[in-house]
Symmetry: C2
Subunit: 132 residues, 2 copies
DNA sequence: ACACTTATTTAGAATCATTATAAAGTAGTT
DNA sequence: AACTACTTTATAATGATTCTAAATAAGTGT
């Protein structure tokens, strides 16, 4: 199966539920953003059986930890995830609450001049808020 | 009184509680980051009477709407606010969960090349995640 | 295939930040 | 002082996320 390695790599046994979650997350042409509730809905739409929220949370968090998913830093009551794990940034439309990907090439190079002793930079993320 | 204008400007009547909140927020040399719970604690430390959480939320949100406070876009279970409302960015130490201000001069100019029709950029915020 | 150990799924409960409610109090106005 | 509109407050409601413990499934050795 296609996603067994991804699961094992994340420390998870490949179960029916997890493979179904993988299909919804990774079996798509384009990457996308989602909240847990949206993912739950997508899963319900795609397959007939429902998967419990606890399992969805568990699986998504394992993938996030392993870098197969990214959290998008944004203040919202729900956590947003991104299946696009390449370096990239976001527009956030304050009115519609919509998140839009910025390609890395849409943003000029970012130069962080300050260093913190003993720490290294893991990621640099830009959030561009849009208004009308 | 020092903060009456700020309050009126935010559409709030100057009450004892709100003036006390202002003192904790704005009567400091340095700007700082806080969650609502941390602010509640600071207020308890500084004054003897306690202010109800509802009032704190209400006041902080009015200030945020008016631009006297900023929300920091970060994924956390609690919302982080910043009394530094100038354009600036943040380091976030993943291990200690500490937020550190980056001066605007610490980050080179950021060039957003893409435009969205009918929308304008309200803010550009960079979050630099740090690891060991 | 069977028995055994360990991980997983699940529904439901628990937690915790935030928001809503509605009664009692306060500010601003006349 | 009287009146109206806004505030404060304790408490309840909400809603996302995490926890729990019992039932189920996966992996392993025989």
């Amino acid at each position: 199966m296609k996603y067994i390695d991804k699961l094992r790599n994340s420390g998870l046994r490949p179960t029916k539920q997890r493979l179904q979650i993988c299909e919804v997350l990774f079996d798509t042409e384009k990457t996308f953003h989602f909240t847990i509730n949206e993912l739950d809905q997508k899963i319900k739409d795609k397959i007939d059986n429902k998967i419990s929220l606890a399992t969805i949370y568990n699986t998504v968090h394992a993938f996030e930890k392993k870098g197969y998913l990214k959290q998008i830093p944004i203040n919202s009551n729900q956590t947003y995830f991104d299946t696009n794990v390449t370096d990239h940034h976001h527009f956030y439309d304050l009115k519609t609450e919509e998140l839009i990907d910025l390609e890395n090439s849409d943003v000029g190079p970012i130069n962080i001049k300050r260093k913190i002793n003993g720490k290294k930079i893991k990621s640099v993320e830009v959030l561009v808020k849009l208004e009308d």
